[in-house]
Amino acid sequence: MSDMNLTLKVWRQKSKDQKGCFETYKTLASEHMSFLEMLDVVNEKLERDGKDPVAFDHDCREGICGACSMVINGSPHGPEKATTTCQLHMRKFKDGDTIVIEPWRAKAFPVLKDLIVDRGAFDRIIQSGGYTSAATGGVPDANSILIPKERADEAMDAAQCIGCGACVAACPNASAMLFVGAKVSHLANLPQGQVEAKTRVQNMVTQMDKEGFGNCTNHGECESSCPKEISIKFISKMNREYLGALSHVQKSAAAE
C-alpha cells in the first residue's frame, strides 16, 4: 500500500455572512481511499487538535444521492469523467500533489459553511414544476400506456439527474439550464407528464430566472462535468418545450 503526501488548499468559511479564505493542510492518504475518506482523515486530525473540522456535504457515498459537492482542482467533482466526489479515488492523484478544494460558486448557491452550499434553489425549481395528474382507482394493466423505446430511453437519460449542481458550478455563467432541461425533459418525454407539460416548463423557467442563475451560452462545460453525463440536448429540448408552451400559457392567462 503506497501512501501519498498531499497538500490541500481548502476553502474555509464560518458562516454565510462571514468572509472565507483558503487554509492549507498537509495529510497522508492511501490510494485506496475515496476523496471523502481522505477528507475524513483530515477532519479526524483537526478534531484531535481541537479545531473545527472541514464541513462538506455527503450522504450515500455511492454516487447516487447528489449530496457531495466540491470543486476539486478547478473541476466540479474532480478530474474524473462521470464521477461524483464520493466515487473519486485517491489513486487518481500523485504523491506530492497540491489539491485546491472549493465550494460550488454561484449567487444562487450561497455558501453556508466551508464547502457546503445551499442548493434550495433547485428544490424551489422542482416545486414550481408541480405535480403530474394521475388516474386514481383500480390498478391499471401493465403496459396499458405504450411508450416508444426511444422516448422511454430519453426520459430515463434525463431522469438520471441527481440534482448535485455540478452543471451550475462548471458553467462559466453559473447557469442552471442543464438541470432544468433535464427535469423538464424527463416528464415532457412521457405521456404521464403531458397534462401539465406546458405550464410546468413555463413555471420552472420562471423560477430558474428568479433564483439568479446565469444564462446558457452553449459552452458545454455542464455536460462534461455532469457525473451522470446528461447531454446538452436537453437544454435544446427545454427551449423547444418553452417556446411551444408560449401561446398556450398566454391563452390560459387570458382566460383567467
Binding site: V205, T206, D209, N215, S236, K237, N239
Partner: protein, 225 residues
C-alpha cells in the same frame, strides 16, 4: 405563478440573440456574394454598386432593418452578460475548462471588436470619410469607381491586414454563434448536435476564406487597378 413577458425571460433573450444573429448571418452571406463580384472585374462590381444604389428606398429599408437587428443583438447581449457576471459573484481560485471553445469564451470580446470594425468599415467604404483621396473617383460611365476604391484601399498593408484581423474575429464569433443559435431555438437533438457544431465551424471558415480573399488578393497584386 406570475410570469414575465417572454422576451424578458432567460430563454426569451436567448431566442432574441439567436434570431437576430441568424438574420445578421444571412446579411453576411448576401454581402459576401456582392463583394465577390470584384473578381469578375471592374465592370461587374461597379455596376453592382450602381444598381444597388439605384434601389435607394429598399437599400435604406435594409439598412434600418440591419441597424435594428444589430441594436437588439447588442442590447440583449449586454443584458445577458451582466446577468451572467452577477450569477457568480465570487470567482474560483482555480478553474479548468473541459470542452468550451475559444469562440465561445470570447463572444463578448469578438462582438465588441466587430462592432468597432463595422463602424470603421461604414466610414471607410459606405460614407467614404476615412480615405477620401481614393474613395471618390468615377469610372468611364460616370458611376462611382468602387473597384478602384477597394483595390487601392487594400494595397495599403494596414487596411488589408486590419480587415483580415477583424474577419478572423468574425470567424471566431460565427464558429460558436451559428450552431448556438439553433440550440437556443430548440432545434438540435442527439444526432444533430455534433453535426451542427461541425457545420457551424465549416461554414464560418468558408465565409472567412471567401471574405479575406478580397483584401489578400488586392494586397498581393493578384487583383490590380
Amino acid at each position: 405563478m406570475n410570469r414575465d413577458c417572454p422576451a424578458q425571460t432567460s430563454i426569451g433573450k436567448k431566442v432574441l440573440m439567436a434570431l437576430t444573429g441568424l438574420m445578421l448571418s444571412g446579411f453576411i452571406v448576401g454581402h459576401l456574394l456582392g463583394n465577390l463580384t470584384i473578381f469578375a472585374g471592374r465592370e461587374w462590381i461597379n455596376s453592382y454598386a450602381y444598381h444597388l444604389e439605384e434601389l435607394k428606398p429598399l437599400v435604406w429599408a435594409a439598412r434600418i432593418t440591419l441597424l435594428g437587428l444589430v441594436t437588439i443583438h447588442i442590447l440583449t447581449a449586454i443584458c445577458l452578460t451582466i446577468k451572467n457576471r452577477q450569477a457568480r459573484p465570487v470567482a474560483y481560485a482555480k478553474k479548468e475548462h473541459q470542452t468550451t471553445s475559444v469562440g465561445a469564451r470570447t463572444m463578448a470580446l469578438t462582438g465588441t471588436v466587430i462592432l468597432a470594425f463595422i463602424i470603421f468599415h461604414l466610414m471607410h467604404f459606405t460614407f467614404r470619410v476615412t480615405h477620401p483621396e481614393i474613395s471618390n473617383s468615377l469610372d468611364e460611365h460616370g458611376h462611382r469607381d468602387v473597384f478602384k476604391m477597394v483595390v487601392m484601399s487594400f494595397q495599403r498593408p494596414e487596411l488589408a491586414f486590419g480587415y483580415v484581423a477583424a474577419l478572423t474575429l468574425l470567424f471566431l464569433h460565427l464558429s460558436h454563434g451559428l450552431w448556438s443559435l439553433f440550440q437556443s431555438i430548440g432545434l438540435l437533438g442527439e444526432r444533430t448536435l455534433p453535426v451542427a457544431k461541425k457545420i457551424s465551424c465549416a461554414v464560418s471558415f468558408i465565409l472567412y476564406l471567401a471574405y479575406i480573399s478580397i483584401p489578400l488578393t488586392c494586397y498581393f497584386g493578384l487583383v490590380k487597378v
